[in-house]
């Protein structure tokens, strides 16, 4: 069993996201350790991109802060090397196609796998374009995570059948960010995915911020992903954000 599968083996998974280097890499390192301690089952590390087209204002601003602090892909690889000395929780990179492609897909993927990353999420790479990255990811044992959206409908089965690691179920139309309520029938999306690929863990992301939303989404899936709510804490408290992030992750994990 690879590490990502283990993340879903002990009940509902809680998957927090943060943008590396926001406000600096030292804070990211401390926050990742705190999230692991607080019960995170898998951690998404965002590599900042200048033009993150799938992100709402909160994560867009985090990307801008991280880049203006001088964050680079190489510095994030160093961060992971430091974390992997003692942090064993599964981790996946979340970034955009150009960050991987311009680094050299083979060089990026082999380095990521070598330093102990478990997965890669590229929101601007749909099923039709995944062959750009999938063969290299398979070669080095990095799970390329597939996404389904409320508009996917008859595409769900096709995507789920070839999905690796887990399936990222986008809860709502639009970009990332906190939402008052999620109106999509997420349970149906998950059922369609499981019908095509019964063993595939399905995690729901986009718009989840409160323990109540988390619990409701976890009921119909295998786990939940929270990004903007955590990045907001970072925005609010900066270098002092780590205790609040610890507390938030603990609360959310307990609610599932």
């Amino acid at each position: 069993m690879n590490r990502i599968a283990k993340a879903f083996a002990q009940g509902k998974a809680f998957i927090p996201f943060l943008t590396c280097g926001d406000p600096d890499l030292e804070t990211t390192e401390a926050a990742v350790r705190a999230m692991a301690q607080a019960g995170a089952d898998l951690i998404e590390l965002g590599i900042p991109f200048s033009d993150p087209t799938a992100e709402g204002p909160v994560i867009q601003a985090a990307n801008a802060r991280a880049l203006s602090a001088g964050t680079t892909t190489d510095k994030i690889f160093d961060l992971v090397r430091r974390l992997r000395k003692d942090v064993t929780v599964p981790m996946a990179f979340m970034t955009y196609a150009n960050v991987v492609f311009s680094y050299g897909t083979e060089r990026f993927v082999s380095t990521a796998a070598d330093i102990g990353m478990d997965g890669l999420i590229l929101p601007d790479v749909p099923f039709e374009e995944k062959e750009e990255f999938a063969p290299t990811c398979r070669k080095y044992g990095l799970d390329l995570i597939s996404l389904i959206a409320p508009t996917s409908e008859e595409r769900i089965a096709m995507i789920a059948r070839e999905a690796e690691g887990f399936l990222y179920c986008v809860s709502s139309l639009g970009v990332t960010g906190v939402r008052g309520e999620i109106t999509t029938d997420v349970g149906r999306m998950v059922r369609l995915a499981k019908a095509a690929n019964p063993g595939l863990p399905c995690a729901v992301g986009f718009g989840i911020s409160t323990p109540e939303q988390g619990a409701a989404m976890a009921k119909v899936s295998d786990g939940i992903i929270v990004g903007s709510a955590i990045v907001k804490l970072m925005e609010q408290y900066g270098r002092e954000a780590v205790p609040s992030i610890h507390e938030y992750v603990e609360t959310m994990k307990k609610a599932l």
């Binding site: 087209t53 150009n98 960050v99 991987v100 929101p123 601007d124 374009e129 959206a149």
Partner: protein, 394 residues
């Protein structure tokens, strides 16, 4: 399977949320492009509403002054709304209406595409929202006013560099949020398939006309066709029907800004490298980590860090040449064409005029150049005056 490739370029690098929308668009386009009723309706709109065909004008004074090749100007600036943008917008708006969409969204740089989209929306009774970099809303205040006058909502975009690429990102984000009733009327030959192909087909009317008009006037094809290139829609339109004619040089004029050896440039072929952004694989101005560069040009319409995938392929195969033209050369050409021919070109189009001034004297008097004047320059007068140190006020 990846679709919409031009050599290694193109594709559909977009969030899953949009995949069904672009597939629905592709299906509708493939159907209507062969539908005689659709084509008849579009031709009628282009002719009766937009004023096509546009003239191919022999620029005698410019030709005599430069003392080389004979110069013809393709007058896309005479189209309704003052630029080539209307060709594409009428096609897409008509398609959107056939698809049952009631709302158009668009990005705009100089504002010409925004004005054209707002115009089509007014004509078809559709709702219209235009995203425009905040920096550009200042550079092109007149076009902002026109869009509002036409009933559109203009949303100033403050993220990133607050220019065309950010307006484009904002429009993509908006489309992800609202797909059912909304068509994203993309303004150039870029983005995910089917946009680069569809927009090129709608703009190809330019080279279809140049070819027929040139054969009628000169009895032969031109030796070179020049057009400015940002995303590249007027250029691909001017090139398309000549791609199969190897005797015709196709020359795209990129915006060098303050120079290709400075960071203040938007010349993608000269300074960019292969990448994946805004739905396509192509060349982009970017740093070593793939962060998209904050490009610069005096021309808001060419101030884009990428180039359409078909141009990237034409560059790879050597079928088209791409040259870089600085702000100073473009401004000087803007003034030159105004004085020499009484035609005030858009600052974008002035980039092509600038290269024609270099090329024509090096060619024989028996040779012919066609320069695409993609738009009119009224919108640029305030900023060019400012560039020359003069502040205009109404």
């Amino acid at each position: 399977m990846s679709k919409g490739r031009f050599g290694i370029h193109g594709g559909q690098y977009i969030p899953e949320t949009l995949m069904n929308a672009v597939m629905e668009l592709e299906e509708a386009y493939n159907y209507y492009k062969n539908d005689p009723d659709f084509q008849r309706e579009l031709t009628e709109l282009l002719n009766e509403y937009a004023g096509r065909p546009s003239r191919l004008y022999y620029a005698q004074r410019m030709t005599e002054d430069l003392g080389g090749a004979k110069i013809y100007l393709k007058r896309e600036d005479l189209n309704h709304t003052g630029a080539h943008k209307i060709n594409n917008v009428l096609g897409q708006a008509l398609l959107a209406r056939k698809m049952g969409k009631t709302r158009l969204i668009a990005e705009t740089g100089a504002g010409q595409h925004g004005v054209a989209t707002a115009t089509a929306a007014a004509l078809f009774g559709m709702e219209c929202v235009v995203f425009m970099g905040e920096e550009d809303t200042r550079r092109q205040a007149l076009n902002v006013y026109k869009m509002r006058l036409l009933g559109a909502t203009v949303v100033p975009v403050t993220s990133g560099t607050a220019t065309l690429k950010d307006a484009c990102s904002a429009a993509f984000r908006e489309w992800t949020t609202r797909i059912a009733d909304t068509h994203y009327c993309l303004g150039s030959v870029m983005g995910p398939h089917p946009f680069p192909t569809m927009v090129r087909d709608f703009q190809a009317v330019i080279s279809r006309e140049i070819k027929a008009q040139m054969l009628e006037k000169e009895g032969r094809l031109p030796d070179a066709v020049l057009a400015c290139v940002g995303g590249g829609s007027n250029a691909i339109g001017a090139f398309y029907h000549f791609i199969g004619d190897p005797s015709v040089r196709l020359i795209g004029c990129e915006a060098a800004g303050r120079g290709v050896d400075t960071p203040d440039t938007a010349a993608t072929i000269a300074t960019g490298k292969l990448g994946i952004f805004h739905g396509m694989k192509s060349y982009f101005c970017q740093d070593q980590y793939g962060q998209i560069a904050p490009v610069y040009s005096i021309s808001a319409g060419l101030d884009y860090p990428g180039i359409g995938p078909e141009h990237a392929m034409l560059h790879d195969t050597g079928r088209a040449e791409y040259v870089a033209v600085t702000d100073e050369e473009a401004v000087s050409a803007f003034e030159y064409l105004s004085r020499t021919e009484g035609i005030i070109p858009a600052i974008e189009s002035a980039h092509a005029v600038a290269y024609a001034r270099k090329l024509a004297p090096a060619m024989g008097k028996d040779q012919i150049i066609a320069v695409n004047i993609s738009g009119r320059g009224d919108k640029d007068c305030v900023s060019i005056a400012r560039y020359r140190g003069e502040e205009l006020s109404e």
